[in-house]
């Protein structure tokens, strides 16, 4: 086939509040009251999560991680969405939401165990109101929908009490939009008018398959078919992602039902550290998207419009270096799993035959390792 060229382009109706050049722009439906201090905080988030990502990739190269799924290019989508959440809201990630994890107060080190092979999770989903990384494409959208059913049953929507009303945020990708589970989640959320927001990071690719393989119309329009609103937002614009997600979460908390958000962005790195995009991607595409970098535009705004000086940027750089050190040292220090641990949490109460198998295994491991 002729070299792949994207048919889907940013729509005029794509919500944008900060241009790639760093200009604030207004949008009729999504105004955002935000101070330069708050924007500075968002910038800090963006820089730090990109740094976490950079370090993780380096650690994978050094053999410290078996794999890493990079979020490069998607920082704004994840920080914008993540910062729109309230502490008691619940989020359901895929395997790439490192930026959202950051917003939920999860130590980056807690994410590395899964990729290092020392555990399958590493943090407490209930403490952070951030569910487990989910690798089976789309599965988590149903978990989010069920959680939202529970929220409704707990009377935690539409009370008007901000400390009580709760929303659920489900992350998924453009490829995932083809999975039955994701569409079933749309059916249930619509039929039940549930307080769940579906946040699709359309990074244009599902490994080697362009989004056109999944849909011939923009993904945000999928929601129309199920009878709830869909909106496309500039996924590289952290302010727009924050504003659009905030609005959708408010609607959810206010018993207005679900929203589908399509964050239009781009995967600037390979799918994972195992992937080789040269086989299917045009370098030129990546170059075009480089000009829309989610960090640069905020930096430009802060420097030009908000008059932040070198000290500010140096301060964040310093923070990033400290964080990087934390990630590097912490990763190498991650404890290996104990043989017992493999058996411990298979069930809450361990059946006898598993007790016996554990004994075998523990004995065997100590034998070979001694």
């Amino acid at each position: 086939m002729s070299e792949h060229v994207h048919a889907v382009h940013p729509e005029p109706d794509m919500v944008q509040l900060l241009t790639p050049e760093g200009q604030r722009v207004e949008h009729p439906d999504y105004s955002l009251e935000i101070s330069d201090a708050e924007i500075s905080d968002l910038y800090r988030d963006l820089v730090l999560v990109r740094r976490i990502d950079t370090e993780a990739i380096a650690l994978q190269r050094q053999g410290e991680l078996g794999l890493w799924a990079s979020l490069l290019g998607q920082e704004a989508a994840q920080i914008g969405a993540g910062r729109a959440l309230r502490p008691h809201d619940m989020a359901f990630p895929t395997y790439r939401e490192h930026g959202v994890a950051w917003c939920r107060g999860v130590d980056p080190l807690a994410l590395l165990g899964l990729f290092r092979g020392t555990n399958l999770g590493g943090f407490d989903p209930l403490e952070h109101n951030f569910s487990m990384y989910t690798i089976v494409i789309g599965a988590q959208t149903l978990h989010a929908t069920g959680y939202a059913m529970g929220v409704v049953r707990d009377g935690a929507v539409g009370t008007g009490d901000p400390a009580r009303d709760t929303a659920v945020l489900a992350f998924f990708g453009d490829g995932a939009s083809s999975q039955g589970d994701v569409n079933e989640a749309f059916v249930w959320a619509a039929a039940g008018n549930l307080p769940v927001v579906f946040f699709c990071q359309n990074n244009q690719w599902a490994i080697s398959e362009p989004v056109e393989r999944q849909s011939r119309v923009p993904l945000y329009q999928r929601a129309n078919g199920f009878g709830f609103p869909g909106v496309r937002v500039d996924g590289n614009d952290v302010l727009a992602c924050l504003a659009v997600t905030r609005k959708a979460l408010d609607d959810a908390r206010g018993a207005q039902g679900p929203t589908l958000i399509e964050a239009f962005t781009y995967r600037m790195n390979p799918h994972t550290t195992n992937d080789d995009p040269r086989r299917y991607q045009l370098g030129s595409e990546r170059e075009t998207w480089k000009l829309k970098d989610p960090l640069e535009r905020v930096r430009a705004y802060l420097a030009r419009e908000a008059g932040m000086d070198a000290d500010f940027f140096d301060g964040i750089e310093q923070e990033a270096r400290t964080l990087a050190e934390h990630v590097r040292a912490g990763c190498r220090a991650l404890p290996d799993p104990t043989p017992e641990s493999v058996f411990e949490h298979v069930h809450v109460t361990m059946p006898d035959d598993l007790v016996a198998q554990r004994a075998d295994f523990v004995e065997f491991v100590s034998a070979v390792s001694s």
């Binding site: 399958l120 529970g150 049953r153 059946p351």
Partner: protein, 329 residues
């Protein structure tokens, strides 16, 4: 069976209904979800009246999507609920298979024990009701082979009443196999106390051959035992009750006495539950065996047109054939 609970004798359908009611009264976090479980009370009426009494929030008529029934149950469990999912017929559990095997079974382990999946998945199972395709399957083996799941099957009203409550109360996910052709069979007393959920039970003692079944086949085995007794052959009938984990102690104690064991189930023969029991018994009671463990099961074919199901299913004649065969060793 121990003394009556004082409840009037009831069918298995009624016993399950009463058990579900008790479970919902005991814990307000218990919710029932599935297709047609509300006003209709389910196609088998197992949830009859529960939506009327507990409301639509706790007895939920779901959209027609099994993956979503299970997947949303996972989300409800994360939120602190205790979902009881009804799969309308055995053959329709498969669209939900991914959520069961990759999420329900693994989530607790994935979270290093921080999140629990106290989900009960009720599956009306097995054949013998003259139904069309997909309505007579025996699917327990798929789940028994899946780490993280427990699989139990009730064979009589009293167990149905108690086991469903214990399964729901269990903090682990439980696949609950209900022999649908016994739903409206003879009424029976309900014991005043349960047998522990994961214990097998000798339902008829005998010295010559141990016959093991669960769910729908137990009554067939009791019938076979009565017939065999006329010819002076005493079958010891064991109701497995729990397919996974297996209660080996009861099986071993029995086979060490009889030296002979036959396992009976409706599921296809190969790679079935009978194989695992045969393998374990041979491993753990090798020198006690007078004969190999034999199996009387469904054949390795799709479930047949219902006109042939009673021949295809394990039945009195096929069990007694196997008894004769095993006694020839």
């Amino acid at each position: 069976m121990t003394a009556s609970s004082g409840m009037t004798p009831m069918t298995m359908a009624k016993a399950l209904n009463e058990g579900l009611r008790k479970a919902m009264e005991a814990d307000e976090k218990v919710v029932i979800m599935g297709e047609d479980v509300g006003k209709l009370g389910g196609v088998f009426r197992i949830t009859d009246g529960l939506q009327k009494d507990f409301g639509e929030d706790r007895v939920i008529d779901t959209p027609l999507a099994e993956s979503a029934i299970i997947g949303t149950a996972v989300g409800l469990a994360i939120r602190g609920y205790r979902p009881v999912c009804e799969i309308q017929f055995d053959g329709f559990v498969f669209p939900g298979f991914d959520q069961i095997v990759s999420q329900v079974a693994k989530f607790h382990n994935r979270s290093a024990g921080l999140v629990r999946m106290p989900i009960t998945i009720r599956i009306p199972s097995g054949g013998g009701i003259g139904a069309v395709e997909h309505h007579s399957e025996s699917v327990e083996t798929y789940f028994a082979h899946t780490a993280g799941l427990k699989v139990v099957a009730c064979s009589n009203p009293s167990d149905a009443y108690w086991m469903i409550q214990d399964a729901i109360a269990d903090d682990d996910p439980v696949i609950f196999i209900e022999p649908k052709r016994l739903y409206h069979a003879a009424k029976a007393d309900v014991a005043d106390a349960p047998t522990p959920l994961y214990e097998a039970r000798v339902v008829r003692p005998g010295e010559h051959v141990t016959v093991v079944g669960y769910g729908p086949t137990v009554s067939t085995l009791l019938e076979s035992a009565r017939t065999a007794a006329d010819e002076g052959i005493e079958l010891e009938v064991i109701d497995l009750r729990s397919v996974s984990p297996l209660d080996m102690s009861v099986l071993l104690e029995s086979v060490q006495r009889t030296g002979r064991m036959i396992v009976v189930h409706e599921a296809p023969h190969s790679f079935g539950v009978g194989a695992e029991i045969a393998a374990r018994i041979t491993e753990q009671a090798f020198y006690s065996l007078e004969a190999p463990v034999l199996r009387v099961t469904g054949y390795d074919t799709p479930y047949p047109p219902s006109r042939l199901e009673h021949e295809w299913l394990p039945n009195l004649d096929r069990v007694l054939d196997a008894v004769d065969k095993i006694l020839e060793y």
